[in-house]
């Protein structure tokens, strides 16, 4: 049996497993929706409602959004891109900050600065995302004299620097609040500490080799696992920061739908949750593919089921 055939099989298995998981989650979500009181379903049984919601999902009935009077996909495309900016920037900043900070903290652990970084990150990690984003808003208004809300970002006159500044506050709130960043930083630190004790690493240091290259290569796997494990938290955080910074993304759409009185916009809600779940499953799939590439033993393990 050649190696490429094995990887192909494992990929098919993986994709079908993720698809099944996605579909089951959506069915569960449609079931939960039947409990929401709605004037258009007063005399309808829960089962009929459940089947109605499933029909929307399976037959792709996303032509019309009740709130926006537009195609559901159009609404999701318009808002979703801003959510995607937040997610991508958050992941990028986590990686960009974790690598140097964890490296410095472990390799120079007796320095005051390293201890200070460690303690500050721990203290910040216990601040909730909501609180952190409100405090960032206060600081921006008081110190920089601007209100970092979405209108300022999407306004025609906004320059690239202003946009970057306005984008950075919600992103920093998501990654620093609720311990998302600290948890990734902590696992990276553990991994570097482990690498430091390995004999091959001591050998490299003794030969005068560059430790950075080996450490970065060593922590990639840990970073991927811990960031992908935090993706659900990131998405929950995005809902919060979008409301605080009036960011016109998917999170704001969800809250709008739930706040809507009378008949709810179920097609829009189902489509948004489907998009969020696709993001979660896509990140999980990317994680497994990258780990397989980094460590081929894992792909063999997947086929044999060990």
């Amino acid at each position: 049996m050649n190696n490429s055939f094995q990887i192909g099989t494992s990929q098919i298995m993986l994709i079908s497993r993720l698809l099944a998981r996605f579909f089951l989650s959506m069915v569960f979500f449609c079931f939960l929706l039947t409990f929401i009181p709605d004037i258009s379903y007063v005399d309808t049984s829960k089962m009929t409602r459940f089947l109605d919601h499933l029909e929307v999902l399976i037959l792709f009935e996303f032509d019309y959004s009740i709130i926006y009077g537009d195609s559901v996909w159009e609404v999701i495309y318009t808002n979703g891109k801003y959510t995607l900016y937040l997610i991508i920037s958050a992941i990028f900043i986590i990686i960009a900050m974790v690598i140097p900070l964890s490296y410095y903290s472990v390799m120079y652990n007796n320095r005051t600065l390293s201890k200070w970084i460690d303690n500050s990150l721990f203290a910040i990690s216990s601040i909730p995302i909501l609180i952190l984003s409100i405090l960032f808003m206060v600081l921006a208004t008081e110190i920089f004299n601007f209100v970092p809300i979405f209108n300022q970002y999407s306004g025609e006159g906004a320059t690239f620097t202003q946009k970057a500044l306005i984008l950075s506050l919600p992103v920093l709130s998501i990654i620093l609040g609720d311990g998302i960043f600290y948890s990734v930083y902590d696992s990276a630190k553990d991994k570097i500490t482990k690498i430091k004790t390995e004999s091959w690493f001591k050998g490299i240091l003794a030969r005068g080799g560059n430790p950075r290259r080996h450490i970065i290569r060593g922590i990639v796997e840990t970073l991927i696992i811990s960031i992908s494990g935090k993706i659900t938290y990131l998405l929950s955080g995005i809902i919060i920061v979008e409301m605080v910074f009036s960011w016109q993304g998917l999170g704001m759409l969800i809250v709008d739908v739930f706040k809507q009185s009378g008949q709810k916009d179920y097609p829009l809600l189902i489509a948004i949750v489907a998009v969020l779940l696709i993001i979660i499953q896509a990140v999980n799939a990317a994680k497994i593919f990258i780990l397989q590439k980094l460590n081929p033993e894992k792909s063999n393990g997947l086929v044999t089921g060990s």
């Binding site: 909730p128 609180i131 409100i134 208004t141 008081e142």
Partner: protein, 398 residues
């Protein structure tokens, strides 16, 4: 032999101490609220900044207007008849801004420090009754009847120019240490009242999560792989959808009933508790002392509940309980902020933050800063309590 005091300053003891202090504070706030109820949230003038001096100077920039008086003429009533040119809303002449909100019967003192060195004369041109200017310092003690707003005008003469600095003093009958909101409610009273949605709802969520998670964690090992895979499937299902979205559904479905929402939070936390207990049970089942106990003839049930759960999951359960309470407080604050939780006229920390959001633009930062600090301290304290208690109870850390 006397133990050295240093022995007690272990990190886990300090964590435990901070955590217990926060817990006692929350309990006291809850007791205060349930014993006094509405009178605590006194109604007064709206938007009063914190009356504790240091907080007021940090969180509030008073409206101080500075003018240049061009034509220095005065009418028989003592009013300036000259042309006044407004310089700027923030004082370009004075480096320290005055305190503008005080209580009756308290001492008021303002000693303005000037940026210019050539001050030749200083005079109070408009002031409430009893206010004096002595050695460059404005002093006053508002009497019981002096409640309301009082304009104060200070005339400053330099060698070349005459300036006038105007500001308004607000005197209240009651003392508002943390200020009031736009409805005139005392913020300190609101914060105490909001604490009622912390421990009790948290305990509801924690009791559901811990009891079901514990049973599932033990049964998954006790009854074998079929039961374990059933529980794993349940956990996967709950965890596959972001928690906040499930909470939104429960909130809307329960018509914003916080107790039902907290029961839902408990349900969402079951997988977390289940995973921790399951891993601890699996780890101990393979230990030699468990195998020996079974071989000696102890009942399997007794070994599981006494040897594994009682002696070895205790520390996990304590830290998980504080985690569940912390999580439920965060959820309550978040959904109330999003207007999907506690509804007005009820009070919650999340609602206070929501009300204060608009005041950020007008510079009334105390409306969000105090609740934010209080929430952060509570969360940090409960997290430290969990971590400290785990280390205190777990024999591995001793």
């Amino acid at each position: 032999m006397k133990q050295p005091i240093k022995k007690y300053f272990k990190p886990q003891n300090i964590q435990l101490l901070i955590g217990i202090s926060v817990l006692i504070s929350l309990l006291t706030a809850n007791t205060l609220w349930f014993s006094q109820h509405n009178p605590m949230i006194s109604r007064g003038p709206s938007d009063i900044p914190p009356q504790i001096e240091i907080f007021q100077s940090l969180l509030y920039t008073p409206d101080v207007s500075t003018y240049i008086v061009e034509d220095d003429t005065w009418d028989s009533w003592g009013n300036s008849g000259g042309r006044r040119i407004s310089l700027s809303s923030d004082s370009p002449l004075i480096s320290n801004l005055p305190i503008t909100a005080i209580q009756t019967g308290s001492d008021y003192e303002y000693h303005p420090r000037f940026k210019a060195n050539d001050i030749s004369d200083l005079e109070l041109t408009e002031s409430p009754e009893g206010m004096t200017l002595t050695d460059g310092s404005i002093q006053w003690m508002p009497g019981e009847h002096q409640i309301g707003t009082f304009p104060v005008s200070l005339r400053i003469e330099t060698d070349s120019t005459t300036y006038e600095v105007d500001y308004t003093l607000r005197v209240t009958k009651e003392f508002y240490p943390l200020g009031t909101n736009e409805r005139g409610n005392s913020l300190s009273g609101l914060l105490i009242a909001g604490s009622k949605w912390t421990l009790i709802p948290g305990m509801i969520a924690a009791s559901i999560a811990i009891s079901f998670g514990l049973l599932m964690g033990v049964f998954s090992n006790y009854y074998g792989s079929h039961v374990a895979s059933m529980f794993d499937g349940f956990s996967d299902l709950i965890e596959s959808i972001p928690a906040l979205i499930i909470i939104f559904i429960i909130a809307v479905a329960s018509q914003f009933n916080m107790y039902l929402i907290m029961a839902g939070v408990g349900l969402i936390l079951i997988p977390k508790v289940y995973a921790v207990i399951k891993s601890t049970v699996n780890q101990f089942v393979e230990n030699q002392f468990v195998e020996s106990a079974l071989e000696i003839g102890f009942e399997k049930k007794v070994v599981y509940w006494r040897e594994i759960v009682w002696y070895n999951c205790k520390s996990d359960m304590i830290s998980l309980t504080t985690y569940c309470i912390t999580f439920s407080i965060l959820i309550e604050i978040t959904i109330s902020y999003l207007n999907l939780g506690v509804q007005d006229p009820d009070i919650s920390w999340g609602l206070i933050l929501l009300e204060g959001r608009d005041s950020i633009l007008s510079g009334e930062y105390w409306m969000v800063v105090f609740p934010a600090i209080l929430i952060s301290i509570s969360i940090l304290g409960l997290t430290l309590l969990g971590s400290g208690a785990k280390q205190f109870l777990d024999p591995k850390f001793k």
